[in-house]
């Protein structure tokens, strides 16, 4: 092996990593600059908090989705699960804040079960993740609507409003919840051995098995994480909005996948960071804000979104190819 080749190769891989790492942050920064140019007050603390508050529910879902995509999966059931979790939470008709832990516990357990079923279908029955979670989305929707008969009702303790829309010494509470999970899951993915197992499983499931990793177990856990995040996000969103709605979170299944891709997580698994995924979520939310700031009709948002998706994803694959 001659050293020149090694050094060249090293340089190339460095450069490659540098480029991919910066695509998402640079896209985000350019959006922020555009917004600031259009609206100088954009960078005020208040507004940043506001945007983070808006982004928190999506970002939470994205955290989970990232895990699933890293192990070569896809979770289309997240949005449906968000609404189902919200409906389940109101089913208690609780009014006292003392019930909050109970509501949380029950919702979380139920969400985890959904993830477990998704994971089992994908691993043990080899169902394509796309279809398994799509079917799960429809089933959840059916159960939810059957229970509510289309018109959700029931009430939540006041504490939920604090969770979704309240502030703790000026900092939005749902943002704190997001950061809590961001740190926990970030640690899990990037610092713990479970995270390493996720990358190994996503990168090469066959070798994962051969080095003694129970790949199926890792994949199932990823689906459970995704469902948990969706469930929690559903609770937060219901607290944010104040009323339950059978379609809470509609569209988040696609948006969360798009956010992951914008943040540099490869759909083929095994590559990408949680930080990137969250950046992707912020890009989406910012885009939405800019459209409003510009006073454009909401439809324009669709067009801009489409262009950004193709453009940024194209940058990623370009930087990987060359």
């Amino acid at each position: 092996m001659n050293d020149v080749t090694v050094n060249l190769a090293k340089g190339a891989s460095r450069r490659f990593q540098q480029i991919t790492q910066f695509i998402a942050p640079i896209s985000l920064l350019s959006l922020v600059s555009i917004a600031t140019l259009l609206q100088p007050s954009f960078l005020s603390i208040n507004n940043i908090q506001d945007i983070l508050t808006q982004a928190a529910p999506l970002a939470l879902v994205v955290l989970g989705q990232a895990f699933v995509i890293l192990v070569r999966g896809l979770d289309l059931s997240v949005a449906s699960l968000m609404a189902s979790a919200a409906v389940l939470a109101t089913a208690f008709n609780a009014t006292s804040d003392a019930m909050i832990p109970v509501i949380f516990l029950v919702t979380i357990v139920a969400s985890a079960c959904v993830g477990l079923i998704n994971g089992l279908l994908v691993t043990k029955r080899n169902v394509s993740p796309f279809l398994a979670t799509l079917a799960m989305m429809i089933v959840l929707q059916g159960i939810r609507f059957y229970y509510t008969q289309g018109a959700p009702s029931g009430s939540l303790p006041e504490g939920f409003r604090v969770l979704g829309a309240g502030r703790l010494t000026g900092i939005p509470v749902n943002m704190l919840v997001f950061f809590l999970f961001f740190f926990i899951l970030g640690w899990l993915l990037h610092k713990s051995s479970f995270g390493r197992r996720v990358y190994i499983t996503g990168g090469n499931p066959k070798s994962a098995n051969l080095v003694g990793i129970y790949a199926d177990r890792v994949i199932i856990i990823c689906y459970v994480i995704s469902s948990l995040m969706a469930g929690i996000s559903g609770l937060i969103l219901v607290g944010f909005v104040g009323t339950v709605d059978n379609w809470v979170g509609r569209g988040y299944e696609i948006d969360s996948i798009v956010a992951c891709v914008l943040g540099g997580i490869m759909l083929n698994g095994g590559k990408g960071t949680l930080w990137g995924a969250v950046t992707g979520a912020l890009i989406l939310i910012l885009m939405f804000n800019i459209v409003i700031i510009l006073g454009l009709p909401v439809q324009a948002q669709l067009i801009i979104k489409g262009i950004i998706i193709i453009f940024v994803a194209g940058l990623f694959s370009r930087s990987i190819q060359t």
Binding site: S13, F16, G212
Partner: protein, 507 residues
Amino acid sequence: MIRLDGISKIFPGVKSLDNVSFEARAGEVHALLGENGAGKSTLIKVISGAYIPDDGTIYFNGKKSKWTSPKGAKDAGIHIIYQELVLFHELSVAENIFIGEAPLTWFGTIDYKAMYERAEEILDRLGHHIDVQALVKSLGVADQQMVEIAKALVGETKLLVLDEPTAVISGREAEILFERIKLLRDEGVCIIYISHRLEEIFSIADRVTVLKDGQLIDTRGIEELDRDQLVGMMVGRQLKDVFPAKKIPSRQVTPVLAIRNLCAPPKVKDVSFNLYAGEILGIAGLVGAGRSELAHALFGSIPRSSGTVTLDSEIFNTPSPRESIDRGLGFLTEDRKGEGLMMLLDISANISAPVLSEFTTVTGLDRAREVQVAKDQIHRFRIAVPSPGSGVSTLSGGNQQKVLFGRWTKACRRVLILDEPTRGIDVGAKVEIYEIIRQLANDGLGILMISSELTEIVGICTRVLVMREGFITGEVEGSQIIEEVIMKYATTESDSVTTGIGDVLIK
């Protein structure tokens, strides 16, 4: 026939071909040699139009070539058998053979009847019988390689390139292949042949071109060269002793690993043997004999149907790779990329993978220690890498294999299973790997080594089991370990099951 003039091909960070000029004539077998990563496959892909060279010209039949895609080269009469199998698993054998050029009916539809007949005809010519309507996915690798070779016999071929065609087929099939190659050569076809097996080169090549690090070393007639010279050209230094001296371990009473009546349908049938610490036990046999499956069954990565496995006098019958690793087994598989390395991860992560829990602390993975271990292994096996944090995808085959050795020597305490540990690896790296294996045995590991290269089985193993059709058909030891004896067990009918195996079993 074909002349390359000053070809260069640069990949980001790698100059795969550096101003290479080379020429092959009609009616000759021209061998292309070089270490892993020397640029042989790249050169082939430049000829086929799969890669566009950054510099230089290709002349085909005296004219400047015009093609810019494999289709163009194919139309010009160039046929290439690539190193990786280029087959479609969901299509039938015949469809694969005739891919893109199937016989057509009047309406322009595919004439399946004619296609099947002609496919059978071609396979007949290769002396290899496969159901032409079977889907390729149902075939073993050897059959698949034959389908790949059959593709070359469709249509008029002026230039035939074979990139390591014998890597997975047996001696008998290789013989037939060589006969066909010679026939084609005599018909005036130009043949470029790539292989790491030097014996083959001496038996069929007329001229040899050696590449090293993307540069042309020389082109010579085969009669001008002997083996040592050739190796010298390839690695740039003289290699005298390819194999380290054998060291027969003193026979302990209890084997480290004892297998009794192990079955793992459909490939592994009633296998029994013992493995002692410090020995290198070879498993020889033709491709498809079930050796890899035996290894997988042992390691727990495919299910066993019956039989017992005893490790250090402790029976363990609930096998899973995890369990096996925890008990001190290691398994270096034959498919380096598909089943071995994690291409997206760095070297240290690749090394620590089987024993992640060792590096787990309350605060997460102990990266520092992981990197330290990787550094130790890089040092120990002299892996040519810039740092433990660099990716494995940019390494050469030999260095990738050494990373896997680094992984398993870290994880494995008792028995290391090696499946084709030198497949597709150049001579220089091979020598180092043989030394590593020897060293590991000396350190007290029991080594089970599967290999299709008889020379290395003969050169390094202290005892050899021979498999055929899922059974162990023979065991040879000491001076008995010669190619003829092994081949006899690997090919003849089962009446020759020796008493040798019985001896081992009596305890």
